[in-house]
């Protein structure tokens, strides 16, 4: 039986007295690929920030690897949502990935081993040929891939992604998810997304958050989830994700192992 990685029990959280999360319960097991969906302002990012120890619940308990998140941050890889931190700061792709390692004091130069590791994770996300480019010169999709490499360099056991494909076109998202699927063979993944396109193909469980949390241990949105998110009851929409994924594959005429495996597409 797979080990329990994340346990959220009876969690409440409020901003200025208004509860954005109420009685939230969630369990994530080893090698799970959980997708968290929900409307804007529903509390998805708040939940992620609690899993990272950035926010503390007003009531209830959040445990990651059986303890408080801040005790196990070295086991967690994080890919943030926002793109506005991409500034003109002089920073190469390689150095950005290297910042994912433990910082330490009086360390300016990176060791050969550290650089080798960074180059390896960059090759995993197919960004190795961009390693000397500045971060400010990359496209949105490329930045997200570099962030994924930055999260992977510390060899985390749990990967948390907050809307990683919000700035990427549908095919780019598809490729990004394909990479994640490969990573999921070794690591547990929790991902917040609005992208329902690949719902039926990549993930193995869904949580819908809108103040309360609904969980389904199958890669499908339930009727209740659809009602919370879009106010609709039609079961047809639940399989919409799988349909769109197939459409993208068809349109781009690439299938199987070679799909998405050419560098710099996104």
């Amino acid at each position: 039986m797979n080990e329990e990685i994340v346990s959220v029990s009876g969690v409440y959280f409020s901003y200025n007295g208004d509860f954005v999360l109420e009685n939230v319960n969630l369990k994530v097991k080893e090698k799970d690929f959980l997708m968290i969906v929900g409307p804007n302002g529903g509390g998805k990012t708040t939940l992620v920030k609690m899993l990272l120890g950035i926010l503390k619940p007003a009531k209830g308990e959040v445990k990651v690897f059986g303890t408080s998140p801040e005790n196990v941050l070295d086991k967690i890889g994080y890919v943030p949502q926002k793109m506005n931190n991409v500034n003109d700061m002089p920073l190469t792709v390689l150095e950005c990935v290297l910042t994912g390692l433990k910082s330490g004091f009086f360390k300016i130069r990176y060791t050969k081993n550290e650089i080798k590791k960074a180059e390896y994770v960059l090759s995993r996300v197919e960004m190795d040929k961009f390693k000397d480019k500045k971060m400010s010169e990359l496209s949105g999709g490329q930045v997200q891939r570099v962030y994924l490499a930055r999260a992977l360099i510390s060899s985390p056991e749990l990967l948390i992604l907050d809307e990683p494909t919000s700035n990427i076109d549908p095919y780019g998202s598809f490729c990004f998810f394909t990479t994640l699927e490969e990573i999921n063979r070794e690591k547990t993944i929790i991902m917040v997304t609005h992208n329902l396109n690949l719902l039926a193909t990549k993930i193995n469980s869904v949580a819908c958050v809108n103040k309360y949390l609904l969980y389904n241990d199958k890669p499908e949105l339930t009727k209740e989830m659809m009602e919370i998110m879009y106010g609709i009851h039609d079961e047809h929409y639940c399989s919409m994700g799988a349909y769109v994924a197939e459409e993208i594959k068809h349109l781009t005429k690439c299938e199987g192992e070679n799909c998405c495996h050419y560098k710099g597409r996104i």
């Binding site: 990272l52 931190n85 920073l91 994912g100 910082s103 300016i108």
Partner: protein, 275 residues
């Protein structure tokens, strides 16, 4: 021009510029990449409170202003580290409050305040050996700070949220950057004065930012720019009998415009070729 080297006041000015350029390059680069220019402006103007306090207590200005600025910048740093809304308004309040405090304290100080203007506009040609010693010590502290926290500074400056997740104490780093800014500002008060300090902390750094690939490269290039602007401004002020601080800033400003225009023409040409 070599006859300038026979003057002790000129040599002292060059020495202080060389060491100040290190402090300013480190602090200025961190200010620019973290978009803290307005915050640094508030620290600079709040430093006038320290000048006023030194006058009021009849104590040496530099150490008192330094202590005052470290305390006030720590308060600004801790208060602004985690705030996101209306932060500019709060910084504006600190800006005006420090300046007003300085003015009131000077009002309460009896006697003639002849050299008050030198703190507003700098007096690079009147630096003492004690001033130089202080700047040397502070430049060593800046280098140690940079070396000790280099990786944290890069991570913090690029992505604060991720830095937090990687265990970086973001409040401490944010506050240390502001304290370092305060220290460099107090040094610059002697060189260019409170009013012009921001230009010295931003022009060399802004020019360096686009030309380098690393924070360290940006700092080193800023250091070179600062020394060049400083010495050129000093020579200009000597021959044209102008205020040294303002001359340095004018030289930096003119170079900034020339460089940007030159780059603009280059871009224009390449665009034409492309079409």
């Amino acid at each position: 021009m070599l006859e300038l080297l026979n003057y002790d006041f000129f040599l002292n000015a060059v020495y202080i510029l060389l060491f100040a350029s290190i402090v300013c390059a480190v602090a200025g680069a961190l200010i620019v990449i973290n978009r803290m220019v307005f915050l640094a402006g508030a620290v600079a103007h709040a430093a006038y409170g320290g000048v006023g306090l030194a006058f009021f207590l009849a104590q040496p200005v530099l150490p008192i202003t330094l202590a005052f600025s470290i305390v006030s910048s720590s308060a600004i740093g801790i208060y602004t580290a985690k705030k996101t809304s209306r932060i500019d308004s709060v910084i504006g309040i600190f800006w005006a409050l420090g300046m007003a405090l300085g003015i009131i304290l000077i009002d309460f100080t009896p006697g003639y305040k002849a050299d008050l203007m030198s703190y507003l506009f700098g007096s690079l040609l009147a630096v003492s050996s004690n001033d130089i010693l202080m700047v040397v010590v502070l430049s060593v502290i800046s280098i140690l700070f940079l070396f000790a926290f280099y990786r944290q500074l890069v991570l913090f400056s690029y992505d604060r949220e991720f830095a937090f997740v990687k265990g970086v104490n973001i409040v401490a780093i944010h506050t240390l950057i502001i304290i370092l800014s305060a220290v460099s500002i107090v040094i610059l008060i002697k060189i260019v004065g409170i009013i012009l300090v921001i230009a010295f902390l931003t022009i060399p750094q802004y020019l360096s930012e686009g030309k380098t690939n690393t924070l360290m490269g940006m700092i080193l290039l800023s250091c070179v720019y600062t020394i060049c602007f400083g010495i050129s401004g000093l020579i200009f002020s000597f021959y044209f009998n102008t205020t040294s601080g303002a001359s340095i800033i004018i030289i930096a400003g003119i170079w900034f415009v020339v460089e940007k225009m030159f780059l603009g023409i280059k871009n224009g040409k390449s665009e034409k070729i492309a079409t």
